[in-house]
């Protein structure tokens, strides 16, 4: 049985969104590497053979104290422990430089850029960090162009890790304590979120709950959340006016899972709790506000309902916060309550569309990818669906076994590469509706590498394509000297301009060590 390590060092919500990957890794002995604070949560995921942990709290303390020795020894010991497992596959779905280095350190012999037979995702190899695999490259290109994304995070991770679809319609977590569901429906509400911008006000949640309670006599309400959210719970109770089961600040992650497992429905923002509910196959209604982008991080479960503002500035750009929370009042509690009542009554809900808000419902397309069904019905595929098809075709035509060959450009020259990019651009053009940007992309790609760099800064698909092309060049192994020299110059310029690192005299054909990000 192949041993497969999945590196997920992000937060609880991200860990819960890793559960479908474990479910899809049929036939693999799955190991997870998580932050030590999430060890027990990782242990809840069904199908995980082993949980490895990295104590990042202690590590950060050591680094803050400039304790080089212990910080080094901590990572070295972890690397040795991981290497002892002889993993056949390491999938890094954390997308940070730190996790990239851990990916490289998890295998006995440091990987080469061209070899993606073991490591996938951002990887630290013999020449520094690089994106191993097409999907990893696409993820990186989309980091600063999220609006051009076509895939839900889980789908992108599934592709990155070379996995098929998860087993849907069942919980992906191990069975919790046998406490069975009560006769009355239990609506569980998560009040807080990791940023005030993403947090619906407690009064809105309370108003929703009151309408639902009036419609469904006997309804029980439970509040969950961390100690930091006690004040929110107090405010909720004040507005709601009746008794609720208040678990805020009283549960660990295991106990939280038990509460959610007993729930009939979870109402929450884009939080770890809503992804926990999805992993437990519990119905959810999500209020997505601020930077939360339902297309990327909706609960990965059929029938999940998402409410969003229709304000032009929603969702907030990651680095361009609007500074107000006007979108919070765009979603009326009464419409949310109506859907909650429907779902709790076992009836279906339909997507809604108004001037100020919309609701969409999670479904999965023929390729097994998450799609959000909105109120507008069209015979034409949406832009997102078109792009998704494009990328699946573009990257899907190279099964993982052949992917490394595809990316071994040692015998290609720049013309061939440009040609490949141009033909991709033509396919891109055909796939796009309108397609007027592709003319621009083609023109830009015809020019030299500096222009590709400029093109990569374009905010549309042509920019995305150029950016991908650029990433492909970055990962190019040794090639003809002339081409290598050009690429080197271009990349040095790029890095110099980005003020990341000073130019170096003795770098190889690529930024190599200087390119460590």
């Amino acid at each position: 049985m192949p041993r497969h390590l999945i590196i997920q060092l992000a937060r609880f919500g991200d860990l819960m969104q890793t559960a479908p990957l474990v479910s899809a890794a049929v036939g693999d002995e799955v190991h997870l590497l998580v932050d030590s604070s999430l060890e027990s949560a990782a242990g809840m995921i069904d199908g995980v053979t082993w949980v490895h942990t990295f104590d990042r709290t202690a590590f950060s303390k050591e680094l803050n104290q400039n304790d080089v020795t212990h910080a080094y020894q901590r990572v070295s010991a972890l690397a040795q422990a991981l290497q002892a497992n002889n993993f056949d596959k390491v999938s890094n779905i954390t997308h940070t430089a730190e996790s990239a280095y851990l990916t490289g350190l998890a295998v006995k012999s440091l990987p080469r850029r061209t070899d993606i037979s073991v490591c996938r995702g951002m990887t630290g190899g013999r020449k520094g960090t690089y994106s191993a695999g097409n999907w990893s490259r696409l993820f990186r290109a989309l980091l600063c162009r999220r609006e051009l994304g076509a895939f839900h995070l889980v789908d992108l991770h599934l592709k990155l890790a070379g996995l098929g679809s998860p087993n849907r319609g069942k919980s992906w977590l191990k069975a919790t304590s046998p406490a069975s569901k009560s006769d009355y429906p239990l609506l569980t509400i998560q009040l807080g979120a990791n940023s005030p911008l993403r947090m619906w006000e407690p009064a809105n949640f309370a108003a929703t709950a009151r309408i639902v309670a009036e419609a469904l006599p006997g309804l029980q309400i439970a509040l969950v959340g961390s100690k930091d959210e006690l004040a929110l719970a107090t405010e909720f109770e004040r507005v709601y006016g009746s008794t609720v089961q208040n678990f805020v600040g009283k549960t660990n992650l295991q106990e939280l899972a038990e509460v959610i497992a007993r729930s009939s429905l979870v109402l929450s923002g884009d939080t770890g709790t809503i992804h926990l509910a999805a992993a437990l196959n519990v119905p959810t209604v999500g209020i997505y506000l601020g930077m939360a982008r339902a297309d990327d991080t909706a609960p990965y479960r059929t029938g999940s309902v998402i409410f969003e503002s229709r304000r032009a500035c929603y969702p907030c750009a990651e680095n361009n916060r609007c500074g107000h929370v006007s979108c919070h009042s765009d979603i009326p509690p009464v419409v949310v309550a109506a859907d909650v009542v429907q779902l709790l009554s076992g009836r279906k809900v339909t997507p809604q569309l108004s001037d100020s808000f919309q609701s969409r419902i999670v479904e999965f397309d023929e390729d097994g990818c998450l799609d959000l069904m909105g109120a507008t019905v069209s015979t034409q595929p949406s832009r997102r669906q078109t792009l998704r098809k494009f990328w699946l075709k573009e990257f899907g035509q190279f099964p993982s076994d052949h992917e490394s060959e595809n990316f071994n450009h040692s015998t290609r020259d720049l013309a061939e590469l440009t040609g490949a990019a141009l033909s991709a651009a033509r396919r891109f053009e055909l796939a796009l509706i309108g397609g007027n940007q592709i003319e621009k992309a083609r023109e830009l790609l015809k020019l030299n590498l500096k222009d590709i760099e400029l093109a990569a800064n374009q905010p549309d698909e042509s920019g995305l394509l150029a950016h991908l092309f650029q990433l492909e060049l970055e990962d190019l192994p040794e090639g003809p000297k002339l081409i290598a020299g050009k690429i080197k110059l271009s990349l040095e310029n790029l890095y110099r301009r980005a003020r990341l690192y000073p130019p170096r005299q003795s770098i190889g054909i690529l930024p190599l060590r200087a390119a460590t990000r």
Binding site: R56, F59, L63, Y72, T96, A97, E98, Y101, L110, Y501
Partner: protein
């Protein structure tokens, strides 16, 4: 004998030229050279027989045979005691490594030169020195080329050691102490004053420490000088000005702790007028970082030492006797006299252009401030082609036409040009309380060393310390009273060859004995004879400690080996090193890159 004497002199000239003068001296009466029974000369001093009176050559062979046995392969050897040189000669024949010989008694060398066979010693270094710290300094380069003091073995010529047991024991002990503490270079924080004559000296000290291979951080307080001036004008209320001045002093003082801890230094070196509060001293002491203060001022006239001397672990002075007694009464445990010096990279002979010679040159010149005795003495020199350079010459009277640049402050660079261009550099130590030459003057001012280092000819006033630093009239021309000046100017102006000879000898003397490198080395030897181990050596990030922890990790060890000279290292330094390396990354490097990236991520998330 005459032939071997000449051979020995030639050998000394080629290998140890500074000893020529001493070697040519006659053998003093108490050093008795006589033939042995076998014919070769033997030597006795003050009733101690230094060689066998029967067969000194065979004796030396036997001793050397025995002595080389325990010497580790490749170790350099320091022989303690020269005698006539038989033992050294026998050792030389058996050693494949470098040899140095230390002799505490200068009277021995003439005997060895006349009766020994020094010319057979190859490239051996001979150090004739009675002071331990100077002997250590003289051996420093020798030890460095051997790979550090730990690679040096001491071999005693027992009869010589018997004559000066304390000297040789101390020498060996100090060298051993250095092998454990000083082989890896230390971190030094040099704190400068805001302004004044000690500011350039602070910079010379920092440069010297750097040249000695230490990691030097400088806290340049001259940047606050403008703030100090502003404070002087901000209010007419003296109390307010005082309070603001105190705040500024506190800021500068606290910065010392911050910088010293941040840079993990092993020593804080402060110059006169540099600020450091008692709290900061306590804080540094708590962190086991010793502090040293070089009081380059006259203790009778600048009395602020009374308020601060006990704050420092080491107090260096340019005057001795009475001052040290006063310091001891206050409880200053470690006070040491450290003469001023020159920085040969700054104070040096120059090739001047004709225009520069015209601008800076004159028969007689003086660079310095307008103190009372100078005004009084120089007024008598108005008949000469005399240029007066420097500041504080308000109301110069008769000297007006001699005063250059309207009494503007002269930069170090210009000063060196003046020293080079002047036929006679007149150096009169300042005094506000005397006419003419200060009869009680003891210490020697920086100018004395600086003029000599520039190979300038100088006429300086008599100072009680001068004779131990320079040979009077051989290396520097000296006047005892103001009345002597004019005749001496006449004398030397008409004798350019004599001027050049003296300037040349003075120049050689400075390079040999009076550089800041030597002074700083002397100071460090003194300090670290008392300090068990530099603070950095105890620091967990000291390269030696990291290497110890890295046992069994060859990739990490090899990376750390490359950084041996760094002392205490930071993650940033390791990353810099990794970036400079070529070839594929290895796992050790990847771990450091991970640490670096994680720290950057923390900083971005503001978690640090």
């Amino acid at each position: 004998m005459e032939k071997s004497f000449q051979d020995n002199l030639s050998w000394l000239k080629a290998t140890n030229p500074t000893l020529i003068e001493l070697a040519e001296k006659p053998i003093p009466a108490h050093v008795v050279v006589s033939p042995s029974r076998k014919g070769a000369s033997t030597l006795a001093v003050a009733d101690i027989q230094l060689h066998s009176s029967y067969d000194p050559v065979s004796e030396a062979e036997k001793l050397a045979e025995k002595a080389v046995e325990p010497i580790p392969d490749g170790n350099a050897v320091v022989l303690l005691g020269l005698g006539i040189g038989y033992f050294a000669e026998s050792l030389r024949k058996r050693l494949g490594s470098a040899l140095a010989i230390v002799e505490a008694d200068p009277d021995i060398l003439p005997a060895a030169t006349q009766h020994g066979n020094l010319a057979s010693l190859g490239e051996a270094l001979i150090v004739v020195e009675g002071k331990v710290d100077r002997a250590i300094s003289a051996l420093r380069k020798f030890a460095e080329s051997a790979g550090g003091w730990s690679k040096v073995t001491f071999v005693a010529h027992a009869p010589s050691v018997k004559r000066f047991p304390n000297f040789y024991a101390e020498l060996e002990a100090l060298a051993k102490a250095q092998s454990s503490s000083m082989t890896s270079k230390i971190g030094i924080l040099v704190v400068t004053p805001m302004y004044g004559g000690s500011l350039p000296i602070a910079n010379y000290c920092a440069s010297a420490f750097r040249r000695l291979g230490h990691r030097v951080e400088t806290l340049d307080n001259s940047i606050y000088d403008e703030a100090r001036r502003q404070i002087e004008t901000v209010s007419r209320d003296r109390r307010h000005r005082g309070m603001l001045g105190d705040l500024l002093a506190t800021l500068m003082s606290e910065t010392i702790t911050a910088k010293a801890l941040d840079a993990s230094v092993d020593l804080v070196w402060l110059l006169a007028q540099s600020p450091m509060s008692a709290q900061v001293a306590t804080e540094l002491r708590k962190n086991k970082i010793p502090t040293a203060f070089w009081f380059v001022e006259e203790w009778q006239y600048r009395e602020y030492w009374k308020d601060c001397a006990t704050r420092f672990d080491y107090f260096f002075t340019i005057q001795d006797s009475g001052f040290h007694k006063a310091l001891a009464r206050m409880g200053v445990a470690h006070a040491k006299k450290l003469d001023l010096a020159a920085d040969p990279t700054v104070h040096r002979p120059l090739e001047l252009t004709p225009a520069e010679i015209t601008e800076y040159g004159s028969d007689v010149s003086h660079v310095g401030a307008g103190f009372r005795n100078r005004r009084q003495v120089f007024s008598g020199l108005t008949g000469y082609d005399f240029k007066l350079w420097g500041n504080d010459w308000d109301d110069p009277g008769l000297l007006r036409k001699h005063l250059q640049r309207d009494g503007a402050r002269i930069s170090s660079a210009d000063m060196v040009k003046i020293f080079n261009a002047s036929r006679i550099n007149l150096n009169l130590h300042s005094s506000q309380f005397h006419d003419g030459v200060n009869p009680d003057g003891d210490y020697v001012n920086p100018r004395t060393f600086e003029i000599a280092a520039a190979k300038g000819f100088q006429l300086t006033d008599r100072r009680s310390d001068l004779s131990s630093l320079f040979n009077r009239d051989g290396e520097v021309a000296v006047f005892d009273t103001a009345r002597d000046i004019a005749p001496m100017i006449e004398h030397y102006l008409s004798r350019p060859d004599e001027r050049h000879r003296i300037a040349e000898a003075g120049y050689r003397r400075v390079l040999k004995d009076h550089t800041y490198d030597l002074r700083m080395s002397e100071a460090l030897n003194y300090i670290f004879a008392f300090e068990q181990k530099p603070a950095s050596a105890r620091h967990p990030n000291h390269i030696d400690n990291l290497k110890r922890e890295a046992d069994g990790d060859p990739e990490l060890l090899s990376l750390l080996e490359e950084m041996q000279a760094a002392g205490v290292v930071t993650l940033d330094q390791i990353i810099d090193r990794i970036r400079k390396r070529d070839g594929d990354l290895n796992k050790a490097e990847l771990i450091f890159l991970l640490m670096f990236e994680f720290r950057r991520w923390m900083a971005e998330k503001d978690l640090a």
